[in-house]
Each structure stands twice: as C-alpha cells, then as structure tokens.
C-alpha cells in the first residue's frame, strides 16, 4: 500500500509540471494587458512610455515569458511562494488561504448533499423499477440536469427577496465557533449545487444497481434465503458503488466550476470570486496560483478515489500478494 502510494505521489510531479506550464502560458494569452488596465485605472492613460516601462519593470513583466516562468517556479520550489498579487500588495498564498476554506466547505457540502440525494434515490429507483417512486426520482434527475444552477441560484436569491424581503445570509462565521450560523450561509448554495450534481450520480447509481441486481451472486444471495434489505444493502450496493465513486472523481472539476458561479450569486468570498476578479483585472499571479491549487486538489481527489477502490474491492488491494 505505501509503495503504491509513493508511486502515485511521484507520478503527480510530472503532471503538475506540465499543468503549471499550461496554466502560466494560457493566462498570458488572454487578450488585454494588465499594464493598460493599471494605467487607465490611475488615469495615466496618456502617460509617457517611460512610466509604462517603469511599471512593467516593477511588476517583473519586462522579462521574456520563460524567464518569468522560471522565476515563478524557483520561488515555488525554494520558498513555497506563489508570488504577489499585481494589484494588491498581498501574497497569492495568503489570498488563496483566506478564501480556500469557504470554497472547500461549499464544495464538500455540495458533494455531501449530492450523494445524500443520489445514492438512496438511485438504489430505490433500481429496486422498485418502473414504480411511481422510480418515475418521480428519474423526473427529478432530468429536471436537475436541465436546470442550470446559475438560474436556480438566481431565482433563490431574487424571488424570496421580492416576495418576503428575505435574502440568504452571507455573514460567514467560523465553523468551529458557531456551526449553525456557518451552515445557514452554506445550506442554500450547496443544496443547489448538490442537486445538479446529484442528477448524474443518481442515474449512474440506478444503472449500476440494475446491472448488479442481475448478477449471479445476487441470485445466490436470494437463494440463501436473505431478506430483500440484506440482499440489496449488503450484496448489491457495495458492488454498484465502485463505478459511482469513479464518477465522483470526475465530477470534482465540474463542481469547482460550479462554485465559481454560485459564489458570485450568493456573494460568498471564496476562491471562485477571487478568480473571477483576478481574471477581470488580469492579475496573473492570482490566476495561475488558483489554477495550480485547483489542479492539486483535483489530482488529490482522484488519488483518493483510486485508494477507495482498494477499500471497496479486494481485487485492487495494492501490493497484496
């Protein structure tokens, strides 16, 4: 197991390196230039070439792009430093560190709600195939798939405000000081994100359950005289979960994309908002930093998913001879 883990962790390094090059390069391909933005912002639009060159040098943007990349890389490797924001005098790490917990909580809660809805409904739908409950579950999943979460989110913010003058809270208290207050803020946005994710997971769960329920070992379980509950929960579900977990790994990047939008709608100061602001302002270090952190997170989740196989499926117990 530890050998396997070490191998996987080492394999992350080249992936990260390639990802960092892409991230660093692509960000600078976005049309528009941070210098122009800064100069016009400060009403230096008509300023001389000299001012512009000074600013460029001060920000370290005068060097060729590969030199910029190498400097950036050197700072990451030697000091764990992702650089400073071009606009604010803060380090990228502290900006991200401040906001990451909010996005993580939103993401984890969404995932939690997605699974909380999808797994039981998927199981029920498969076991009671073609009944009213199955149809209701499947209809819900179609609706959740079809309704974009930015639209659902906008409605939830606007309609109650119009009708009752109520708006979802967004004063974030630290979770460990007042968990209830904290969860109140995250409840609605994570439910909306979770519901849209749950649709895909539910359909997968249902399909896998139908598949597994037809397997010979499920027939064996019936032939043992087990009650339905045991046959389904003990023999079918665990087998059906394996591909569903793969799907969850694939959904994490999509989930991250969803948080960017939902944070904006619910005015949550998370990574998504940071990223959006940074893109608008062409704040390159922030953008590359966020992408890099997101990349590490996605890779970590997928590594966790692979390790989960080992827990679920004895055939993939690593290093077991």
């Amino acid at each position: 197991m530890s050998g396997y883990l070490l191998r996987r962790l080492l394999a992350l390094l080249p992936t990260l390196l390639v990802a960092s090059i892409i991230v660093f390069g692509v960000v600078r391909l976005v049309p528009g230039n941070v210098l122009d933005l800064m100069l016009s912002e400060n009403d230096f639009a008509s300023s001389s070439h000299e001012t512009r060159a000074q600013l460029e040098e001060a920000l370290g943007l005068d060097k060729p792009i590969y030199v910029q990349y190498l400097v950036w890389m050197k700072n990451i490797v030697l000091h764990g430093d992702l650089g400073d924001s071009l606009w604010r005098n803060t380090s990228v790490l502290s900006e991200i560190g401040e906001r990451l917990p909010i996005t993580l909580e939103l993401g984890l809660l969404s995932l939690f709600f997605a699974l909380l809805i999808a797994v039981p409904v998927g199981i029920y739908s498969a076991v009671r195939q073609e009944t009213l409950g199955d149809h209701v579950g499947r209809t819900f999943s179609i609706v959740a798939l079809a309704v974009p979460n930015f639209w659902a989110g906008t409605l939830v913010v606007i309609l109650p405000a119009m009708w009752w003058g109520w708006a979802p809270p967004n004063e974030i208290e630290p979770f460990f000081e007042s968990p209830i207050q904290n969860l109140k803020v995250f409840l609605v946005p994570s439910l909306i994100l979770g519901a849209s994710l749950s649709a895909v997971v539910m359909r997968m769960m249902r399909t896998m359950m139908l598949e597994v329920l037809r397997q010979d070992y499920v027939r064996t379980a019936w032939a043992k005289g087990l009650p339905e509950r045991t046959v389904v929960m003990r023999h079918a579900v665990k087998n059906a979960l394996i591909p569903v977990i793969t799907l969850v790994g694939i959904l994490v990047p999509i989930l991250f994309g969803g948080t960017v939008i939902i944070e904006q709608i619910f005015r949550l100061p998370g990574i998504g908002q940071l990223l959006l602001d940074a893109v608008t302002a062409r704040d390159y270090p922030i953008i590359t930093g966020v992408f890099l952190v997101a990349g590490v997170l996605v890779m970590t989740v997928n590594l966790l998913v692979d390790l989960c196989y080992g827990l679920l499926d004895p055939k993939v117990r690593f290093d077991r001879k």
Binding site: G3, L6, R7, L10, Q215, D216, Y217, R219, T220, A221, W222, A223, K224, G225, L226, P227, T230, R234, H235, K238, N239, L312, D313, P314, K315
Partner: protein
Amino acid sequence: MSAPLLQVSKLAVEFNGGVQAVRGVDFTVERGETVALVGESGSGKSVSALSVLQLLPYPNARHPDGSIRFRGEELMTASPQRMRRLRGGRIGMIFQEPMTSLNPLHTVEKQIRESLLVHKGLSKADARERVLELLRLVQIPEPERRLTAYPHELSGGQRQRVMIAMALANDPDLLIADEPTTALDVTVQAQILDLIKDLQQRLGMGVLLITHDLNVVQRVSDRMVVMQDGRVVEHGETAAVLARPTHSYTRALVEAEPSGQPRPLAGNAAEVLQARDVRVQFPLKAGVFGRVRDYFRAVDGVSLQLRAGETVGVVGESGSGKTTLGLALLRLTGASGQIRFDGHRLDAYKGRALRGLRKSMQIVFQDPFGSLSPRMSVEQIVAEGMDVHRIATDKADREARIVQALEEVGLGAELRHRYPHELSGGQRQRVAFARALALKPRLLVLDEPTSALDRSVQAQVVELLRDLQARHGLAYIFISHDLKVVKAMSHYVLVMKEGRVVEEGETAAIYEDPREPYTRQLLAAALNIR
C-alpha cells in the same frame, strides 16, 4: 405413504411477451435420490429448477399453472417469509458459474456465515466453527487460511466447493444443482461430481441436478428427466433410459457425441506452418518503480508443424497456455521463437508485410456471442475482412463471395441481413467460420470453437469443419479442453500443462496409450463413462 420430497406437477412458466418457457412439466425427487433434469439450452430445465425456489425474475415471469410441493407443502402459494425460510434453509442451491455466483467483495467466511446467521441465528463465534466444519466437508485444503480469502483468490474448483458449502450450511433436505460442473476443467468436474455424490449419500439429501451433459447424468443420477422445448419428453431410471432411449430426441442426444475421425492426410501435403521454440512471457513487476522481478511463462518453448489438410489438436486445462499459443502462432501477441508460415518467416515480419499475410491465417474464437459485433449485420461481419484486404473486384463479386461463404458453412443467403442476436448459438459460430473462410485462408486457428454449443450442434460443427478441411485443404490448429471433440478432429495432438507440451503424438497413440500421468488423468476424467 409419505409425500415425496419434491413433487412438481403441471408446472408452467411464461415470460413477458408470451414466451412459454415451461409447459406442463411433472417430476418428483425422493429423499436420498438424485434426479437429473436433462436438455439442451432453451429446453426449460433451468427455469423449472429456479421455479422451485421462486428465483425467476418475477413479475416478468409468471406461473399460469402448476404446483410445486415440498414435503407435501405447496410452494406456489407460500408467503415470501416462508419461502425465505426454505431458501438456503431446507433447500440449498448451487449454480453454474462459481466465478460470478460468489460476491466478489465478501470473504469466504462472510458468505458462508451469512446463511448460518440468517437461518440458525448463531453467534459469529459459533458460526466460525460451523464454517470450518463445512469447508472441511467440501474438502477445501487449509480451511483456516481460506476463511479470509476472497473469491478471486480461489481456483474455479475451490469456488464451487465454497458454493456447495454455502448450500449445505443448514443441512438442507434438497439440493438443487444447476449445471454445477459445466464451467470447470474436466479433472475438477470429476472431483466436484464425486463430492456431490458422496455428500448426498452421507447426508441423505435429495438432489435435483440440471445438466446438458449426459456423462454427468450417467455418473451421478439415479433417475433422469429429459426436457425439450419446455416439456418432459422422457423419464425413467438413468441406466435404462441411456441404454434404450425411446423418444427420438433422447436418442438424438445420446448419439450426438462427436464421433468419427479426420480424413487421412495426403502423403505429399505441403507444410503450412512450422513453429520452433515459441515462448510467450509476461513480466511480473514489483517495488516502487515496477521493476521486473520475474516472468510468467504462459507458453514455454513449444514447437509444432502443420501441413495442408492437417489438424493439430491442442488440449489442456484452463491456464495451460493453449489459447496464448494460438495467438502467438498468428503473431497476435508478442512471442519469441521461429514461426514459418507458408515459407515466410512470420517472426521477422511486421506492419504492412504482416497484414498482407493476415488473410491467409484466420482465427475463430470460443464465444460466438462475444466475438461477433452486435451492431453489425451478418453481411457486414462476413464482408469486413474482404473489404480490408480488397479481395472482391466489384459489388457483384463481393455479394457473390458473401453468399458463397455463408452457403459453405450451411447458412442460407437470406440470413445475411440479420444481426447476431437474431441467430442461435450454432448459427453464430457458423457466421464466425464464414467470416474467416471468406478470406480463403490456408490456416485456421480454432480456439474452443465448440465449447459454447450444445452437444447436438457440436457434432454438426465438427462434421462441417472436417468437410471444409477436405474441400479446401485447410490446416487447423484446434484448441480445446474437450477431449472427445479433439479426438474427432485431430491428426496429431499436443497435451499442454503450465505452458509446456507434456506429451504429443498421433491422435490414436495418445488416446490409446497415453504415457504421461497428466494425460492419463485428463483422459480418465473425460472419457471413462462409456
């Protein structure tokens, strides 16, 4: 007089769409006797057996009529709770595929224990004793170590033993065995059948055995019930029925054993294939960086030669390397050693040169269900190879070649617009032959081409293959675990074990005077019945 252990009368089973799988079936099983339910695929034998425990996919299946009495108690109208108590309690069941019939995520102990906990309410500690006792009963070596094993860590035979242990956990009165040995190697088959027979006598159970294999019937059953198209066509004492079958279908079954011999070889037949010291190795890796520590030798230095019109049979149990050898000879897997095909050094060829030769060497696989693409019509399947090699000159020629290939394997030209799922197993395998033959090959590797087919269909396929060989001077590599079919097909036989050839020779010599103990063991297990 007490009621029979199991009495099935007028049983009928209907599936959605109005398919009547079983129509008015009667049979009984007494305490301490083994009754065999015999028939080919689609005869309704498995459906009848599953009806007893109500394991059919209800409500897609229905019983319009019939009664099933177990020790006098009617099961058709029994409550779900009552049925649960009988399943795995008074009536145990084992299935054909020990690979898939055990839950891959549960240990052996957990799977066997489950029956005990549900029916007897034992504590886990007490259950462990009983599980060990059961594993000893079914003769699993080192039962203590097997407790924590998962199904994939056991051999096929061991898995079936675990299944039997599970079925017997609560001392059932009746054991239903649905093709319990079909998926196993011949030597293992014999062991499992002996085990079932032995346990039945010791425990005094009634056994209902479902099988298509008359050897199995003869070996273990007291009485037999022959089914065809959902009806019982003949029943009686096994020995009497086999000796003097009265119904034409039973007679056909009994006579369906593949027989005869391949046509004699012409003295001047040209050499088609010569292989010397063929080896296939798979690396075994270990450590953080996956260094290669050792090799698994799937094929370990095999040599053979083959002339036009000749069949070399390759026999061996699963894992002996016979399929890998077939793939290696056609360069479908990496291998070392010399392979000369039709004067070409195959091992030195690659890419385009090799592709040019491909049409002259074809392969047909075991499973006619899995090896034909379900999305292609018969015509597309047969024509694909021809199109790749640009054999047909124009559209009319292409059409003519397709029809010719189909007719050669005994299929009507009208079948070419059908899809594989619309064909029977025998027809599918014929399509696979037609696909290969359309390219006018010189060499055909036949990898268990008859194993997935019913006996009566097997005999026809063997006849067809011999006929095609004589007509076109085809050379065959015939890979099979079925020694009877190999005998009916081959001029020369290689016996493989663990990647090596342990014995080889003319077919008659091998079958009449086997020298190696392993060959003798194989032959004894496969042929000792008649």
